[in-house]
Symmetry: T
Subunit: 68 residues, 12 copies
Amino acid sequence: MNDHVYKIIEVVGSSTKSSDDAIQQAITKSGKSLRNLDWFEVVETRGHITDAKVAHFQVKIKIGFRLD
Amino acid sequence: MNDHVYKIIEVVGSSTKSSDDAIQQAITKSGKSLRNLDWFEVVETRGHITDAKVAHFQVKIKIGFRLD
Amino acid sequence: MNDHVYKIIEVVGSSTKSSDDAIQQAITKSGKSLRNLDWFEVVETRGHITDAKVAHFQVKIKIGFRLD
Amino acid sequence: MNDHVYKIIEVVGSSTKSSDDAIQQAITKSGKSLRNLDWFEVVETRGHITDAKVAHFQVKIKIGFRLD
Amino acid sequence: MNDHVYKIIEVVGSSTKSSDDAIQQAITKSGKSLRNLDWFEVVETRGHITDAKVAHFQVKIKIGFRLD
Amino acid sequence: MNDHVYKIIEVVGSSTKSSDDAIQQAITKSGKSLRNLDWFEVVETRGHITDAKVAHFQVKIKIGFRLD
Amino acid sequence: MNDHVYKIIEVVGSSTKSSDDAIQQAITKSGKSLRNLDWFEVVETRGHITDAKVAHFQVKIKIGFRLD
Amino acid sequence: MNDHVYKIIEVVGSSTKSSDDAIQQAITKSGKSLRNLDWFEVVETRGHITDAKVAHFQVKIKIGFRLD
Amino acid sequence: MNDHVYKIIEVVGSSTKSSDDAIQQAITKSGKSLRNLDWFEVVETRGHITDAKVAHFQVKIKIGFRLD
Amino acid sequence: MNDHVYKIIEVVGSSTKSSDDAIQQAITKSGKSLRNLDWFEVVETRGHITDAKVAHFQVKIKIGFRLD
Amino acid sequence: MNDHVYKIIEVVGSSTKSSDDAIQQAITKSGKSLRNLDWFEVVETRGHITDAKVAHFQVKIKIGFRLD
Amino acid sequence: MNDHVYKIIEVVGSSTKSSDDAIQQAITKSGKSLRNLDWFEVVETRGHITDAKVAHFQVKIKIGFRLD
């Protein structure tokens, strides 16, 4: 971060593969409508269970992006 | 929640009737500009006092909605 | 509370009527298998949204009950 | 709030009717000895259970009032 | 979650492979004595170190399951 | 902790002697129905007052025990 | 607690003997100007060190007392 | 702090000049009715906005003072 | 706050001058695209260091604004 | 505390006797390599259990010491 | 943990591969100057984004090590 | 932050002038024994009061610095 102003949004991504991939899914989706995504912070990691298996991870993150 | 990506916004609703109604007011207003509202979480409940009576409840909630 | 030992469980109740009723639903259900329920504490209030209306409230509570 | 100084007190109200009414009970009582009550914030919601029913709600709130 | 009542338990799973696998180990074990496991939330991620290597990850999760 | 799975319960013990003894009371009681109790963490320390004296300490702890 | 209204104050007691005694000191002092002290909750435990010895414990507690 | 007992109050001060000055305003006001003010801790910093400018800072602090 | 609905956004402002000025920078920038900014709350204060000097303060705030 | 700069370290002490003694053990050990230890704050109290008895208390504290 | 005294340090590791690997990087580096590293706890997971991709994970951990 | 490993220390600085200056005092002192100081985060702002005036601000910060 430098002397710019940043806006922070909160997004939940999900993935059947891993908690790290759920973060990437949230960022990929957010990058389709926003530019200059700069950093993320994990807020919460949870997920759904089917037949005693993790069906998918759901990771809530905050994403900071630079306002032009 | 399934494998979609969700965005979360934070909104404060108010009501002279009840704290539950303040939640509904925040959701009603948000539903006018956003589609696919899916869930809410209460962040804070407060309110204003007039003549030792609750004048109105103000409830801050997070609302999650599915990104298409 | 007096000099007994208490166990605490965490339960989520839901209700289409109110957040207070969701608390009661969780207690009613817990009372079917446990005796001596003594107090509750609200941990989290959330819910689902359908068509910009609160579909049902979901309240997570802790319930303390006396061990005989 | 404007440029006044406010003092904040912490009070627990209770009610057999509802959690919202427990808030009002705490404010009513506080209003008997203090003037200029301005706002409240809910700190904790809990209660006692009798025969698997909510016997009464107990809500801990902070109340802000203007110092003259 | 719908209008059912859910109970939440807290479990620590461990794994020499990954933090995600530690979550799965906790769920697998819990699924042997409980039915209808529905979701999990990560509470804490920690682990033991041997010779400056992660010996195993230990992840504390909450698991929600539907009461019949 | 090693590669076992642990379950965590929450218990409140009380004692007229000391806060440390209230912890022991909670563990003693829990040990009557559970085996393999392994560690505890203090969650909250409180108590009742009679005539401006601590009548008894009440300590809420989490207890971890190994699932066989 | 029953259907009364309770006020909560925050007090720091100290003791060269023990953390439990610091709690008692805070209650003893508060009992000189307030009646109906009912319960306490520990907020923070700290203290001063002299020559690598605990010089005295300082325990910050909340005290609840019934309003007449 | 030494072996005295301290009481803690919560106060909100405001200032059009700075957040540090809002702290001083809260202390100045409190000093008019209380003696032996000893320390403060910042709990929350917020403020009002007019025309995209900070209209005034509002800082909530705890103030500790020695009971005689 | 009255009976309107408010939306809350999270923004990081920075300033080489002071932490108060970093708040103002975040508000100034937000005011260029949003109307009716009403209040702010400080979430986090941090900054970068160059040659053991604060290079700039970065303050993360929440801003509430009224929805028409 | 006066106008000096203080460094804070985090240490876990343990004791088979009491939680207060575990604090002293952490301070005693720290005092062997550091001078000017000034205050401590308790961060976490936990411990190990053997045969349903507290085997030893483990208290995590922060210790502040003055930098010369 | 047994009856030793442990010191806890806070370290941020980073990795382009995974959040688990970022933990290992922090431990590997710390192991070059410290002996007897015993356990870690994750404090915060964040990272940088480049072109809507996780550029690297940054995980802040606490590491406990035994003092001889 | 890039792919380096960072260590975080906790320091309390004080100043009779301002809370921002107390941050700078903590950084200045830390810079005398450590190189590569990179960022800081405010943990707590407090201070001492003399004659109802802020005698000095004391700001507890975390400082991150790059390990070579």
